[in-house]
Symmetry: C2
Subunit: 176 residues, 2 copies
């Protein structure tokens, strides 16, 4: 009760696989909305939200089929553009927090999301980690892996997994 430090909640957020940057995935916005509605409620001074977005390095460089890379700058520009897209994603959540009046921080890391999230938990020691989940069945999980299961097992802090609502699941449940 007496703790005056706010409860620090790390929320891992990802971009929409359907709409791409800067749109947030359904499970990310679901996790954020749930945290505000059920945990923070009206007690905004009692909490601080920390948003982590992990960008997966593009190994083959082929997700932008229409671009022509003719010089080293083209590659630097591409990387810069990726970063900018990640920033726009975080801006969505930071703006929401600003409207609600809750303190927040947001940052981007590159790497394998599940490993980076657990490493950031070790580094910043949040009180709680919230991850959204597509709520996939065992068959779908095999092919896409699940960040949430890994974090529940390995993150060194309590973890809440928030599954998407059934009525928000897209036609292909692997989409998000």
């Amino acid at each position: 009760m007496g703790s005056s430090e706010p409860t620090r909640i790390l929320v891992a957020v990802s971009e929409s696989t359907i709409k791409g940057y800067p749109h947030a995935s359904i499970s990310s916005t679901g996790a954020f909305d749930w945290t505000i509605e059920k945990i923070v409620r009206s007690n905004t001074p009692g909490f601080k939200l920390l948003f982590l977005h992990v960008q997966v390095p593009d190994e083959d460089g082929f997700d932008d089929m229409d671009s022509i890379y003719a010089s080293p700058e083209d590659f630097r520009n591409m990387r810069h553009r990726d970063k900018v897209r990640g920033i726009h994603l975080l801006e969505y959540f930071v703006n929401k927090c600003h409207e609600i009046g809750i303190a927040c921080e947001a940052w981007i890391k590159k790497g394998d999301p599940k490993e980076v999230i657990c490493r950031e938990v070790q580094r910043i020691h949040p009180d709680l980690l919230v991850v959204g989940s597509r709520g996939l069945g065992p068959f779908q999980r095999v092919f896409v892996g699940t960040v949430s299961e890994f974090c529940v097992k390995h993150a060194e802090c309590p973890v809440i997994t928030i599954k998407r609502r059934a009525d928000e699941t897209p036609e292909d449940p692997v989409d998000d």
Copy 2:
């Protein structure tokens, strides 16, 4: 934000394997303390705690070696005494809530804890389930099972597992 209904948190509590009834297990009190300190904080009107204690039916009747059962009443008395012990366990948490000024309810069920907890989640639809965990390694887990892992997989609501603090782990980590 606008929700006026309090957030309903189901906390599964068990008795101490070291001290027995009416003492609560280390992981139960840890889960309760964490919930109050990190989630409820000073916002007591925003939350309601629901305490569920699941009593495991004693299949062989041999955990009370000094009793003599000479009549049907002896068995009824034994069952009555078990119930009373469970009530004393719940009384600890209800008293704590009363001191803090947070609304609560508490009840006892019989059965396999992990299955009963998930069934109660289906029945009462809490916003969140909090379970304590001994934080056992894979080798220890094989022999004692873990309620928390089962609930994270099967409960139909978000689940937080609160591990015991390292400095509260008894000599034999299977104890609680």
